[in-house]
């Protein structure tokens, strides 16, 4: 449909007419020469736009195309005495293609050129301006595009501006980087990084990105560290190790949050090798005072959260069996309390390990936040396999020698170690539940210093270990538990089904991350894992013969490896943050910093929904609050632009944006009013229609 329209417009435009725009097209781009005035006047300057209209998702490139691509070229053939200036490039956008980053345009780009008309041009005659235009158009794939365009314009004593074109030309000029005569600054190149420091930047809003002109100076895909400092700002970029000799100046365009761009040209010199540290993820912004809970409150919440974790479908089965074993044996060697403490230690050590791994990765420059464990399809596949195995264990398909959940009548062989690992396993099985239920709380904790972080994780672990610890410490509490009996076996098997329910959630999530083929592969992998469990069970059965045992155990190992390998090797979709299906009749657009800046610059109110499929709070909010008829009607009536940032898979830009709002997890809801100078407003993590309507009343 779009293609047909483009073709139609190209055909219409191809009809030659004096003073009219001239068009040509490639497969995905329509190129049109648009003169600003309907005639040319001797001795004056005529501005001509090359308008590139790109199909959705196709783009063309800036003068420095970044990691790949080619800048658009115009070669003019002009009458005697005419001179064409260079392309005046509008502010580009950052275009991510897999792990690479290009600089260019999507939608529609106006590349302006200024043509000097000689004083000798004779009024009454006409001139033909010819342009050979070459560009590269890319979506994922690239195609060269070219057009030969010709404009014929009359020469008149006065060139009357074309009223119909005044607005688009004004918009095109608005998109050009602004001159920055009042700016002061310099740039320093270290061994691994280049730092641009502007000490005074009058007139600029919050800087967002620096687009360098030199092609091999920086690594485009490494996130830039942009910080406001006094009346200026600082941008640290990773230096390209193959960049060659350093130019004398650092030239480029810096973009700001209001969607404008500013020309930068400052002296660039080599600094000491370690003068400039390479960019790291931005230091998590301290949440504004008064908006976050105080430390004791946060610890209290974490403790209660840990207590509640015991009731989550991922943890309850594992934990309740542990308790059942306890009921049966009344402890084991070393007394009940020691087991309780070993279990608590297992929980805590594992929580610390998880928090430590997360902090270490973040310190190492990874852009991740809480919930990162569910952003990795291999880990989701691993968890699904683990839960399948546990449920089969509960059905009695196989027994593990030192089974933590053994209620078969034997005392655990390695009593204390068994309890410790029991705690660790309970924590591991809790990981899928912490993200959906507690993502926002933990995300908040992660924005704090490391010590606070560990305190919060410790409180969470303590909360989780408390019920078990209490049972082990108090014989009277234990006496309240039902007496051992056949019901325990029934209960155990029932809990196996609860675990299978968790597998369904993980498979759904995996499907959102990889697609329907991925789910099929995962289910096949789970069948292999289940077969492995069954073979293991057959092999360890007391009636198995020696040879049969070896065969069964060998095939169990093989099947387990094959299953895990299959499940964990599924490729993920390119990105989750694509156009989301309309929910509740509302049209959500995929979020990007550029789109947000654009809408803000246009004075549109914007509502941003930072969400993820694995975040249950987000799902509930979207279905209950955001999709409610009153909210939808209000959004529409006020013309609120709706942006959805989908964090189901890792997305560094979203992680960085979350950090800018002082958060490290989803959900986050941000409302921007019409007035671009007013600050944004963060909505609570648990939304209802009333809260949104009230926020709209107060902000718009």
């Amino acid at each position: 449909m779009k293609g047909a329209l483009l073709l139609l417009s190209a055909l219409l435009a191809a009809v030659p007419a004096s003073g009219q725009a001239a068009s040509g097209r490639s497969k995905h781009v329509v190129a049109t020469l648009v003169p600003e005035t309907t005639a040319v006047a001797p001795g004056q300057v005529l501005t001509v736009a090359l308008r590139l209209e790109m199909e959705p998702e196709w783009h063309t490139y800036w003068q420095n195309p970044g990691d790949s691509g080619l800048p658009t070229k115009i070669r003019w053939t002009l009458p005697e005495g005419f001179e064409a200036g260079p392309i005046l490039w509008p502010v580009p956008a950052r275009i991510e293609v897999g792990p690479l980053v290009s600089y260019g345009y999507d939608g529609e780009a106006w590349l302006l050129s200024e043509l000097r008309v000689p004083a000798t041009a004779a009024p009454g005659s006409s001139v033909t301006l010819e342009a050979k235009v070459d560009w590269l158009e890319c979506k994922e794939q690239c195609l060269p595009g070219k057009a030969q365009l010709a404009l014929t314009l009359p020469v008149a004593a006065q060139a009357a501006p074309d009223a119909a074109r005044a607005a688009p030309f004004a918009r095109a000029r608005e998109r050009l980087p602004r001159p920055t005569t009042g700016w002061k600054g310099e740039a320093l190149a270290g061994a691994q990084a280049i730092a641009l420091s502007i000490s005074e930047a009058p007139g600029a809003a919050t800087p967002v990105h620096f687009f360098p002109l030199a092609s091999e100076l920086v690594e485009y895909a490494v996130p830039q560290e942009v910080t406001s400092a006094g009346s200026g700002f600082r941008v640290v970029m990773a230096r390209n190790p193959n960049g060659g000799a350093l130019p004398a100046t650092l030239d480029g365009v810096v973009t700001t949050a209001d969607g404008r761009g500013f020309t930068v040209s400052v002296p660039l010199r080599e600094g000491a090798a370690d003068a400039v540290a390479p960019p790291k993820p931005p230091a998590p912004a301290a949440p504004p005072a008064g908006t976050g809970p105080s430390l004791p409150v946060a610890l209290g919440f974490a403790f209660v959260g840990g207590l509640l974790l015991n009731l989550m479908p991922c943890v309850l089965p594992v934990l309740s069996l542990k308790v059942l074993a306890f009921v049966k044996h009344g402890g084991g060697e070393g007394g009940a309390l020691r087991h309780g403490l070993a279990f608590a230690a297992g929980v805590l050590v594992f929580f610390w390990a998880l928090a430590g791994a997360l902090l270490a990765l973040r310190a190492g420059g990874e852009q991740i936040g809480w919930g990162f464990q569910l952003q990795s399809p291999p880990f989701v596949a691993f968890l699904a396999s683990l839960f399948t195995l546990l449920s089969l264990n509960m059905f009695g398909v196989f027994e593990v020698g030192e089974s933590l959940s053994s209620v078969a009548g034997r005392a655990p062989r390695h009593g204390l170690a068994g309890s410790f690992w029991g705690g660790a396993l309970a924590t591991l099985t809790a990981t899928p539940c912490t993200a959906p239920f507690m993502g926002s709380a933990l995300g908040f904790a992660l924005a704090q210093p490391a010590t606070v972080n560990f305190a919060v994780f410790t409180a969470l672990g303590a909360g989780m270990a408390t019920p078990y610890l209490a049972l082990s410490a108090s014989p009277r509490l234990l006496a309240l538990m039902p007496k051992p009996g056949r019901w325990m076996e029934t209960f155990k098997q029932l809990m196996g089904f609860v675990l299978l329910g968790t597998v369904v959630f993980l498979a759904w999530l995996f499907g959102r991350q990889t697609g329907i083929d991925g789910v099929a592969a995962l289910l096949l992998a789970l069948v292999l894992v289940a077969m492995a469990a069954w073979a293991y069970g057959r092999g360890t059965a007391s009636e198995a013969s020696g040879r049969g045992r070896v065969l069964a155990l060998g095939s169990a190992a093989l099947l387990l490896c094959a299953g895990l390998a299959l499940g964990m090797s599924q490729p993920q979709r390119a990105t989750a943050n694509a156009a989301a299906p309309a929910a509740g009749g509302l049209a959500w657009e995929p979020w990007s910093p550029e789109r947000l800046a654009e809408l803000r610059a246009a004075g549109r109110p914007v509502f941003v929904d930072f969400t993820a499929d694995w975040c249950l709070t987000c799902q509930v909010n979207e279905r209950v609050a955001l999709a409610s008829p009153e909210v939808a009607a209000r959004f529409q009536a006020e013309g609120v632009a709706l942006l959805k940032a989908d964090w189901t898979l890792r997305d560094e830009r979203i992680t960085r944006a979350l950090a800018e709002y002082g958060r490290q997890g989803v959900p986050v809801y941000v409302l921007y009013g019409r007035d671009a100078s007013k600050p944004h407003r963060l909505l609570p993590e648990i939304l209802d229609a009333g809260t949104i309507l009230k926020a709209l009343d107060e902000t718009l």
Partner: protein
């Protein structure tokens, strides 16, 4: 035991995070082992003592089409393999992406284009490509007999898809090889690669 294995697997999964890396001119070229279209493994270290050229390839990319359509790439391959240079063409297109080839398809593609690399290496998971920081097709690297990277960048100095541009261009790869083979330092040791993005 079983539970320790779970833990080990968890830690392994959590810690496998991609690292940003690139090959740096003047430094040892990153080691890799890739299998060719016949399933034979090739390691960079096994070519110690020889010059090695790495050519990032995607036959469906118009920039690659330019250099194969003009016969430019084949000429380089023939000229320098005759001088004992090992020419490795690497394909980092991921499964399902443009230019991805199954091992069985490679021989036909090479014959169709009369390409003559020493080996055509498949890097569908992009590991080697990312280790080198390969950004475009083509993206060219020259490694000396000691394993040091002596050239990284574009094939020539005319970034375009126009076959007519091949004739007048300075071929950076040929120049680097000629200089290095003659024992001279490489005068242009890096340049901005141009082409389609590598389809990781």
């Amino acid at each position: 035991m079983k539970r320790s294995a779970f833990l080990a697997a968890l830690v392994a999964v959590v810690l496998t995070a991609p690292a940003h890396a690139a090959a740096v001119v003047g430094q040892p070229a990153p080691e890799f082992t890739l299998t060719d279209s016949t399933g034979k493994p090739h390691s960079l270290s096994s070519f110690k003592g020889k010059f090695v050229v790495l050519e990032w390839n995607n036959f469906d990319c118009p920039f690659v089409v330019k250099h194969y359509g003009s016969g430019n790439m084949q000429k380089l391959q023939n000229t320098y393999t005759a001088k004992g240079v090992v020419w490795l063409t690497v394909n980092s297109s991921a499964a399902g992406k443009q230019g991805h080839l199954q091992p069985a398809e490679v021989a036909g593609k090479l014959a169709e284009r009369k390409a003559a690399p020493s080996a055509y290496l498949l890097d569908a998971d992009g590991k080697a490509g990312k280790a080198y920081g390969a950004k475009t097709t083509p993206h060219m690297y020259v490694i000396d007999p000691k394993g040091t990277l002596v050239y990284a960048g574009a094939i020539d100095d005319k970034p375009s898809t126009d076959i007519a541009d091949v004739a007048g261009a300075r071929n950076h790869v040929a120049a680097a090889l000629d200089e290095a083979l003659a024992g001279k330092p490489v005068s242009v040791a890096s340049s901005t690669p141009y082409g389609c993005s590598v389809k990781y």
